[in-house]
């Protein structure tokens, strides 16, 4: 198995790791850099629990090779602690009751971060479309949509 050394910025921190070429970005984030906020839900890009931002664009980290992060900006849910919009979204999720078991929540929060960056004042319908790639089994999505709407209005 060949290894490759890559340099990238992880939540603002210059990071160098050596990873097997076939490793997913999700596995690298969780097992190599030790940030566990990004979740494994399905491993095939269907559930959105592993959503991260790559150069500011949200994507499923399970479908991305770790080596593709080389030279780029990676943001995980942990990185939102330093981001005013991210903190606002997290607070809105708490206040709206959008969190139950919480397993989908980091992915939802990351997807919301991208959605509100692109469209700061989305309609409820646009919010629902915006998170259609993120599955939640607990909430029925209503309070998640409420949360995103609230975050967009503050």
């Amino acid at each position: 198995m060949s290894q490759q050394t890559i340099d990238f910025t992880l939540n603002g921190v210059p990071t160098r790791v050596s990873v097997p070429v076939q490793m997913s970005a999700l596995e690298m984030i969780r097992n190599v850099t030790g940030l566990t906020g990004t979740k494994y839900g399905c491993g095939e890009g269907e559930c959105g629990a592993c959503t991260i931002l790559l150069d500011g664009v949200s994507l499923n980290s399970c479908l991305l090779f770790a080596v593709e992060c080389d030279g780029r900006q990676v943001t995980t849910v942990e990185g939102l602690a330093d981001d005013p919009l991210g903190r606002k979204i997290e607070k809105a999720f708490v206040d709206a009751g959008a969190v139950q078991c919480g397993f989908c929540t980091p992915g939802m929060v990351m997807q919301t971060r991208q959605l509100l960056e692109k469209n700061p004042h989305p309609s409820r319908c646009e919010i629902q479309r915006g998170i259609e790639g993120n599955l939640c089994r607990c909430t029925g999505y209503v309070k998640i949509v409420d949360a995103i709407e609230a975050a967009s209005k503050e």
Partner: protein
Amino acid sequence: MPETIQRDSLIGKRITKLDAPEKAGGKTRYIQDLDVQGQLYGKILRSARVHARIKSIDTAAAKALPGVHAVITAADVPYQRPIGVAKDHFPLKTDRVRSLRDEIAAVAAETEAIAEAALKLIKVEYEDLPVLADPNDSLKPDAPLIHPEPHGATAKHDHLKQAQGIAYRGKPDNIAMTFDYAQGDVAAGERESDVVFEDTFHLHYVTHCCMGVSGIIAEFDPSGNLLMYSNTQVPFLHKREFAEILNMDPARIRIIQPPIGGGFGSKLDIYPFEPITVFLAKATGRPVKLVFTREEEFLASPTRQPVILTLRSGCRKDGTLTFRTVSTLHDNGAYTSWGATTPFVMMQTISSLYRVPHCLYHTKAVYTNNPYAGSFRGYGNLQATFAVEQHMDMMAAAIGMDPLAFRLKNAQDSGEVTPQGMHFKSCGFKECLSTAAEASGFLAKFKANEADKAKPGRFKRGVGMASMLHVGGGAKIYPSDGCGTILKMDDFGSVTLITGASEIGQGSETVLAQLVCEELGVPLSAVRVINNDTEITPWDVGVHASRTTFIAGNSAIGAAKKARGKILDAAAKMAGLDAADLDLRAGHIVEAKNGTVVMTLAKLLRQLHFSDKAELVVTSFYYEPPSKHQDKHFKGDVSAAYAWATQVVEVEVDTDTGIVRLLKVTGAHDVGRILNRLGLEGQIEGGIVMGQGYALTEELMVENGVVRNPGFRDYKLVTAPEIPEMDVRFIETMDGEGPQGAKGVGEAPAICIAAATANAIHNATGVRIMALPFTPEKVYRALKAKDQHH
């Protein structure tokens, strides 16, 4: 310090979940996120055949792979004991495999990748056996038997257990479990009937799809005690069961539950991967972590039980129900888990949702080579309600009554004791019916849709209703339905609530903290809840049956009341006042009549700490009011309180494609009393969407024992754009036994949706579909079949 404080209450408010901030920040560490120093990774080799004899297993190459610490098969764990409700399988299969999920061997290795590579090196020789894939075939005389003989060599070593468990004695037929119930005389009921219907309903396979996949870490501590980090919903029952399976002293087993990424009933039984991980830890002397892949989760975690249900029911012209006769066939799968016992709940709906004088209920769960069924939110009630509520609409139409009036005529009232023996001390059923009907404009829409049905047009609107009855005050399933509480107060005025009740995301820790605040007059921020370690928390039967708020809530209130008494007595003595004139508000001791502050709670508690009366730890236990269990004929009460709900569903049917869209759900729920409005709404909304998936999109496709769609790509969960508009109303009946008047609600919202959707499709199109799910193909075919009749 304020001079006066008025009484305030958190009850009924929108209280945010205590654990939400850490979860929203991605800081919560689920089982997947935990690592123990020195841990190895476990993987399981599952059967490649649906039904076969295992002729040989060759693990030599796997054992030789660098980084592999252990490869085990049944032969390596002669001490293993059978698991499951009927003790009908060993964690590692011995002589044969009976379904595709069956566990043949397991590996512990230094990395997951090495463990996976090792699995591929294990060679298994099979001798195929005939596959039994259709439960209708299970009872035929020439059907292959699933458990014809004791399960292999392991059994022979265990003489003591010969009598117990199908794994030890085999089963000469394929009947896993039967339930029979009778009340009155159905033949007499039928003679009194003006209208009789008989239909067969087909309920399909679905599965829980918890967003967090299954996982466990098992390790033996330096003194040989077993520690498991587990997602179980029933830690104390599991402690006992693991002790049996592993032949260990239960006192040497400790279970810690990290935050759980979804439960919904999926974690009520022990599944083979859990003891297998313990075997690996034992074999290697190292901690072992085993986490499923999503595919494995689909293949090897439980399902809701598929049911074929034949219902015969009748009524008089005046709308009085006369009788019901039900027979069901449950596809048990290859092994028996809780799915087989769901008739216990189904019969409650059949006998007691409405007043029915005569009832007969026979049910059989039969073995097949399919995936085996566990417990899933609603526990059989979705299936029973699907049939009962469709017949209610059909009978109403046949006698020319509207669906609402027909239901109101037969609905239960407070105070009723049903022929089965269920006692409805608080019952808001009729109010649920009328509230949901009024809020949704049911009757006007129902009649307008009826009139529009025959008119041309591609899109048809329909409205349908269904109601449900479910346990809401615990469930007398086990010998005890209790929960214990330990409550501690420190000298800063903070409270630690140590409860047996598990949090699975539903918000129990927040509700329990609220109930404590109500008694002790402390802010929510002053309460810590400890609920996840069997070594610390008192006993609880588990998180199931919508029981936690009711049972654990009453237990927490009991402890808080004791602490309140101690505090007020001490304060009264100190201040020279009467305890009865004092109250606790916002962290202060005040005079009850005018709120004048006497002292801060923290100050009083500190003073108590410096005296010899500092017993600021109290314990309490709640077991629902002493009452008898049901007798062996299933007569008797099963819960201290019952939850009621009516849901009205509005659909649009595209008659060109068969696509059914859920437009709106109006729900009215008798919840006893609202404790946390935010959490309650979340339970209802989530349940509605889970019910929507059951009705419209979800199906685990099992063909000849093979799961065809083990992934979210092909197993279709409802996504955000597809959810209906929701209007949820709460009926507060203030249950006399409930904590602050509340009743259980967790399962209720998922129960009615499929039945109400069936009725709505009929209202829209005149087509009645008695099989789930309502996929476009099924609806399209039903519409075409109707067209051909005309």
